[in-house]
């Protein structure tokens, strides 16, 4: 990916991220978060992670953001008008964030492996194609295409099959939890 695109999408991710934190209206925040996630998905694509980029758009920018917007509109939350922001908390938040960013910048500047360029870490698809055991993956690799979703699925089901089932159980427990939480107690009258 050309450098200019990297800077463009980084600016998009961080700019919309800043808008999420600073916007007074929750709907603005939610829509900015969707924009931020789209920029982030573009950064994932620039790292040859096509499957993760697609999932980022589908799950985060799609499903999760719709859930947020739905709740904001369901509860009819208005913008914080006239309310003064909690000044000590705002100052504390900014100071902590600046300290953390400086720490990360310092660690990165002394991290010698961090200077490796994308050109220095090339994908050798043909060589990987000869080692691949699954025929469809081997054919794709020999043709010079990175079969990202296939490799992802192979890793998930071959190496992390048990973990995948545990995640399925987690989603089931989450669903039951949501149903229990949103059930009204008997005898209690809601407004």
């Amino acid at each position: 990916m050309p450098s200019i695109l990297f800077y463009l999408f980084s600016a998009m991710t961080l700019g919309f991220g800043l808008l999420v934190v600073t916007a007074r209206n929750p709907v603005t925040s939610a829509l900015s978060l969707a924009g931020s996630f789209v920029g982030l998905a573009a950064l994932f694509l620039s790292l040859d992670a096509y499957f993760i980029g697609t999932i980022q758009i589908l799950v985060y920018a799609g499903a999760v953001m719709v859930l947020f917007l739905f709740i904001i509109m369901l509860l009819d939350i208005k913008a914080e008008e006239g309310k003064k922001p909690n000044l000590p908390a705002v100052i504390g938040g900014i100071v902590l964030a600046v300290i953390l960013a400086l720490q990360i910048a310092t660690v990165c500047s002394s991290f010698s492996n961090g200077a490796v360029k994308i050109k220095d870490a090339p994908l050798v698809l043909q060589k990987a194609g000869e080692l691949a055991k699954i025929p469809t993956i081997a054919n794709d690799l020999k043709a010079g295409v990175l079969p990202d979703a296939k490799l992802m699925g192979l890793t998930l089901f071959q190496k992390y099959g048990f973990h995948l089932q545990v995640v399925g159980l987690l989603l089931l427990v989450g669903t039951i939890g949501v149903v229990v939480l949103s059930k009204r107690e008997k005898g209690v009258k809601d407004a």
Partner: protein, 105 residues
């Protein structure tokens, strides 16, 4: 030319933004959105390390599997969290952090 450090710094800045939001804002829904931003920043770091650690000519797919699991857990967490927010709104008619003082000593 873009290096691994570029991605790590962008991810760190996104994480710092999310942290600032979690501490400074008082609306619980926006705090949740900032949490999602922090999780995404961690995902960017994982994907960057996955791409730059080439094994046998391919990216390291163990890291990308972890990103997949993170996204799944985040989706489940958002569903449960928003259900809690709705329950809270029913009893307090507000989603501000100041209105929740039941656990305060």
């Amino acid at each position: 030319m873009i290096t691994l450090n570029h991605y790590l710094i962008i991810s760190g800045m996104l994480f710092a933004l999310g942290l600032a939001g979690v501490i400074a804002r008082r609306n619980i829904i926006i705090i949740y959105m900032c949490l999602e931003m922090m999780l995404s920043a961690a995902n960017l770091t994982l994907v960057a390390f996955s791409r730059f650690r080439v094994t046998e000519g391919l990216p390291d797919y163990a890291a990308q599997s972890l990103v997949f699991f993170t996204i799944t857990v985040a989706a489940a967490e958002v569903a449960v969290g928003l259900a809690i927010i709705v329950a809270l709104y029913r009893s307090k008619q507000s989603v501000e952090t100041e209105s929740v003082t039941k656990l305060q000593g």
